[in-house]
Structure formats: C-alpha cells, structure tokens
Symmetry: C2
Subunit: 251 residues, 2 copies
Amino acid sequence: MSNLTPINLEQLKVSCEDCKLRELCFPQGMSTDDMQLLDKIVVQRQPLHKNESLYHDGDDAQAIYAVRSGSVKTSAESFNGDEQIVGFHLPGEIIGLDGFRDGHHSCTAVALETSSICAIPMEQLEELCKSMPGLQKQMRRVMGKEISAEHAMLLMLGKMSAEERLATFLLSFSQRMEERHWKHNEFVLSMPRQDVANYLGLAVETVSRLFAHYQNAGIIEVDRRRIGILDVMRLRRMAGTVHAEKIAHAK
Amino acid sequence: MSNLTPINLEQLKVSCEDCKLRELCFPQGMSTDDMQLLDKIVVQRQPLHKNESLYHDGDDAQAIYAVRSGSVKTSAESFNGDEQIVGFHLPGEIIGLDGFRDGHHSCTAVALETSSICAIPMEQLEELCKSMPGLQKQMRRVMGKEISAEHAMLLMLGKMSAEERLATFLLSFSQRMEERHWKHNEFVLSMPRQDVANYLGLAVETVSRLFAHYQNAGIIEVDRRRIGILDVMRLRRMAGTVHAEKIAHAK
DNA sequence: CGTTTGATTGACCCCACTCAAACGTGGTGG
DNA sequence: CCACCACGTTTGAGTGGGGTCAATCAAACG
C-alpha cells in the first residue's frame, strides 16, 4: 500500500541474455544475436497475483508466455463444468501454445502464487519467425516437448494406480527442481492438495492418505506443503520407474 | 504374391492439389503456389500393412506423416512395459510431431489396417519453412491442434466415468466421419476392442459390457466392429456433452 | 474341419470414491 | 492478545464402479 519507492518497471526488465533460466526457457541453444532480437519483443508484465488468470479458455491468443518466477496452473474445462488441470508450470516453462490451433486459447492459466511472466506477442513472434529460422526451430522444439509431456500424462492417467501416480508426480517435481539447480530432495508445492488430486485424476482424500502412507514408510517427509524426499530409490520403485535390470531378469 | 501387373509407384502419386483430403490435411488454407512447393517434398511410400509400424519410440525422427488412407494408432510405452494408446489417426491427420522435441520419436505408430502414408522429410520441411511463412504458420496450427486434442483426452481420462468415456469416443468418431463427408451415424471401427479399452483407460470387458448396454438401451447398434448410432442426442447426454440450456436451469 | 484370435458374459473382489466428522492454521476483528 | 471463523487437510467408515479371473462363444484362418 505504501508508495515510498516508486518503481520504474522498465528498469526491472531482465534481458533473456542475463536471465538465469535462459538454458531452460525459450532461448535454449540460440545464438547471442538471435537472443537479442527475441529480447526486443519480449514484454515483462506486472506480476500476476495468486489466483489471477493470465488467460481464459476462449480468449484470443495474444501471446505465448514464459514463467519467470512463481508458478502457474493450466486447466481445461468440460461441458458439465468440472475441470482437469493439465499442467503445473515452473520458471522457464512456456505456456499458451494451445492458442496456435485457431487463435483462441483452449484452456485457462491461473497463478498459484505471485508470479512474473514474460509475454511474447503473437504478431511480433510470427513476424520474427519469418526472418529467423532458429526461432522457428525453437518453436517446433518447444511444442514437440509439450506434446511428448502430455503423452506421458496420458500414460499416467490411463494406466497407473493412485500410488504410482503420486510417486511419479513427486519424482517429476524433484527432477524439475534439479534442472533449475534448486534442492531436488526438498521443495515446497505451491498448489493445494485439491489441485494435486485434480491433476492426478484422484480424490483429495486419496492424495492425503498416500502422503501419510509414504511418510509412515519413511520414503518422504511431509510438513504441510513442504516435501522432503528421503528415499528416492524406493519412490522410483513405487512409480514403476525402475530400470531395465529388474525387468530383464523378471522375464 | 503374383506380379502380373508391375506398378510404377510414381504414377500413383496423388498431388496435394488433387487430394480430396486437402481441406483437412496439411495444405488446409494454403495458396496454390505454396501447395505446389509443399507437394514437391512430399513422399508417398509403399502402403503400410496391418500391424506394420511407421516409426518406433526412440527412432530418429526423419519425417512427419499424413495418413492418406486406412488408419494408424500411436502409443506411448512406460518403463514397466505397458502401453497407452494416445491416438487413432484417420486420413488427413498428421502424426509424428512428437519428434520435434529432440529429433527422436517418443511414441510408436502402427497401422490398424493397410494404409497409405504421405511423408514430409524433416530436413526438407525445415528448409522449406525458412522461405515459406505460410508453412510455418501451418506447422504451428497443426501442433496447436494436437496439444488441444490431448487436453481433451486428459479431461476424459482424468474426470469421466467409463460410460461417459465410451460415449465421448463414439461421438468423436462420428464427428470425424462427418468431417470427411462419410456416413457419420454408421461406421466401422478399425481397431479391436482391446485397443478401444486401452485408449479409454478401461478393461476390455468393461468396453464390451458398455457396448451391450448401449445397444440394449436402443442408443446404438453393434455388429462386431460395425457401429450404427441410433440416438445421437441420448449419446450426447451420456457423454456429458449437453449444451448450456440444460445445465442452466439445473442450477 | 480343428485351431487361433477376438469378443462376450458371469462371478467375485478390491481400489479408490463418497460421505462425514475432526483437526490444525491462518486471518480477522473485537 | 485472544476468540472466532473459514478454509485446507486429515482421518475413518462404508460403498460401488470397474478390474480381475475364468469360461463360453463367434469368426477368421490355415
């Protein structure tokens, strides 16, 4: 509420070149020259507060977005009103790609906590693509990544038990923490249990019970939304993510 | 086995311009000039026989593909060996986009019946993209479509009951038949029950029972893989795909 | 024809959902 | 500072949808 220190947002803008997420985000593998061109069209918006939305299902797709800090969930809604969370997005991840289908978003993006977002306006992106083959390739790579990620998600919802799902979920988070050079065996989930459950296609109670179960078994440590992973190998075994060795001599 | 009539494959090639699937497939909305350029790099392979694969999980992504006739399933495999079918692909649909992530396919494509496939080699596609902004846009559109389609799939696997899933599945097929100007209330499923069940995240027995149930209720007619839809509205109601009217005064 | 593969049907059971209540925990106002 | 409420989370008890197992049936194939 106090405005003792007026802030010039332009001064706060971090160039892609200087951004610590460079290697995870859009500029991954791009030349310095290309990166500087990209940087010119990137807009850093006002931070998005908790529960505020970046775009809604049906909105015109004005831009694609990169999470710079905080976290965002995207969800699709069905006719009868219930929604399915399709992803939780951490810094460096790109969202809004569904908008390329027909110029309208087919899902909704909401901040799980206060988050800063970089926007890449559609028109300027398309314009830049025309003269920049590297950027085109990047687009395809990012979209291909999303498609592959959703295949993995389908596998989870279609074939895994509740136990395997939560274990997979935790391992996925742990891996993404590691990619960001954060502690990978101790992290805070920014979403409520309800959202975890929704994402995994389970009831809240089931998620709660599984957390308790894992903790009793000494595999993880849970304090509210703070998660500590104590026994990664056992977690992997629960997730079914065990390597060829075991499976080989089972046959 | 008999080679009485040697066939020159080149003579069989149908140009994109002459293809009846033009409006559904890659060239949708492209100018005649652009289409002719695209046509130059499209390769029409030998037909793929039933159960033959177009590419495997892990293969180098050499091309993206369009189904020209027949049908293809794509599936992702988990560590513990079970697979999830991620899509059934009809003529005019594009597959292999997952290969853009890192140059390797992350799923497997197998023909459900004898099928002809058009291949667009990666290298030449990327080359052509550089000089053809329309093609770039097309790529984004096609990939955006795939992402949106998978969101719908996640919603199904995450939130729907068995009954809703099969109803949604049948309606989706019906709609795609209509897009192709084929009979939309009478069609043949090219995949076995096992594959339907796998795709929907259900057991074969459940699918079989549901078919029987729908038939007893007079909603559909089932003869082996031949499906007739008798009461679309009731099927929509089962799928949860009812429009705002009903839901409005339910509240 | 027998054989094989795919589909159906029935009996049984279990995992995860639902309903319900208790339990922190954090925010708010007196 | 504490009492209060609201919300998210946990825990328990009971149930049902859909999975599993097993047998039968039908069609396709050699």
